[in-house]
Amino acid sequence: MINKRVASCAIAINDIKDGDTVMIGGFGEAGSPIELIHALIDHGAKNLTVINNNTGSGRVGLAALIENGQVAKMICSYPRTANSMVFPELYRSGKIELELVPQGTLAERIRAAGAGVPAFYTPTSVGTPLANGKESRCFDGEEYVMECAIKADFALIKAKQADRYGNLTFNKTARNFAPIMAMAATNTIVQANEIVELGDIDPENVVTPGIYVNQVIEVSKPLQESKLVKEGVVYP
């Protein structure tokens, strides 16, 4: 029988090891799987390459993972936010590597990995420093840059609903990177607000089909990052 349900975040993330590449869903706090990230902090895997649009806020969630020294490299489009201080400090002191990728190219590179496409051409970044060192090529008289797929060992994402097959729905703009990261990782771990029965999600409305999901954990009342940041909470 297929049952992707797992009892806790700690069990789910237990196989992440030093040096792994980990995609983490979310755009700012929307869609950030904060309980899974905190479990990864407790777990302690180091030297990680982390893919996220940002670098976290305050001293919880992704920012806390970075502050804890577990992240060797970030791949992201916007490593600054109003309340981000952890990453900038480490970056300026040369303690963390950054691969800056335009947001749409980041999304398409992740999607490409999930779709079995090793590389593609995009008009984004042509003529800018982010195209430096990349192959370019003309199609129909326009110049494009070649970009390669980004895959990961693990994806940690947050969903609204999940069933035991791993089918997922999301809440509003918290969907963001989760569906494509689920496709691009060897092992996709989901914290869902609610685990529902098979068939409760209309097959027409499944956003991420279960085939992309390996483990599902119910976290019915997830922490709210912005609230923790405002309260000055530090994890752990």
């Binding site: 929307a30 600054r80 800056l100 335009p102 749409g104 970044s125 003529g127 800018t128 703009t173 969907r175």
Partner: protein, 229 residues
């Protein structure tokens, strides 16, 4: 011509402001957002454009973090941390909205489906090159977000910017000195002083703010402007 007289700087710093305010710049730009357009608004002054679109025009707003049909700010009791715009501020969704993931959202951008994008600028070149993400300073944390995708993919790029920097340097110049966001991507520039179209022939000044002369603008621009009037 790179630095302007202390006099004009003083004019800007004191309240003897000549030209349009930030609100008026947004308002002027909003006149050019046509009925039925799909529009993406950048952070800052561009965000203000939505509130000035003339009544009777139905415009659909895209936010690159996965929503087409973005509505205004929520009331306090409608706040949902899962419903935000690209600037990470809370928003609402209108009836007829659609949510989608980042792959699909940037397909919409890159695939030239969005009609208009309004962005801020640090520098704009004579050819329509845009620099708006980095000063290139060695200690800066580079952050680009979706800007490069937007300028590469959206059909029409409008820029709203102060005509000069706070210290009075020109922002409209022969070549951008800052790292580019995109090459030959800007269609029109709305500044506090005027509206300029980027054309094959050069920068065409198509409209002046009240009480601003062509010469006044030219003096604050590092490129020879063509006067449309």
């Amino acid at each position: 011509m790179n630095k302007h007289s202390m006099n004009s700087v003083a004019e800007n710093n004191n309240a003897i402001v000549i030209g349009w305010t930030r609100e008026q710049m947004a308002q002027r730009c909003a006149q050019d957002i046509e009925d039925g357009c799909y529009v993406n608004l950048g952070i800052g002054i561009p965000e203000k454009v939505a509130q000035y679109v003339p009544a009777g025009r139905e415009v659909i707003y895209h936010t690159e973090n996965g929503l087409l049909g973005m509505g205004p700010e929520p009331r306090f009791d409608e706040l949902d941390p899962d419903l935000i715009n690209a600037g990470k501020k809370p928003v609402t969704a209108i009836p007829g909205a659609a949510y989608f993931h980042h792959g699909d959202s940037f397909s919409m951008i890159r695939g030239k489906h969005i009609d208009v994008c309004v962005l801020g600028a640090m520098q704009v070149s004579e050819k329509g090159d845009l620099a708006n993400w980095s000063t290139g300073a060695p200690d800066a944390i580079p952050a680009v977000g979706g800007a490069m995708d937007l300028v590469a993919g959206v059909k029409t790029i409008y820029i709203i910017t102060q005509h000069t920097t706070k210290t009075g340097s020109a922002k409209i110049m022969p070549e951008c000195s800052f790292p580019l966001t995109g090459q030959r991507v800007v269609n029109r520039i709305y500044t506090d002083l005027c509206v300029i179209d980027v054309t094959e022939a050069g920068l065409l000044l198509i409209e002046l703010a009240p009480k601003v002369s062509f010469e006044y603008v030219q003096e604050r621009t590092d490129v020879t402007l063509i006067n449309a009037s």
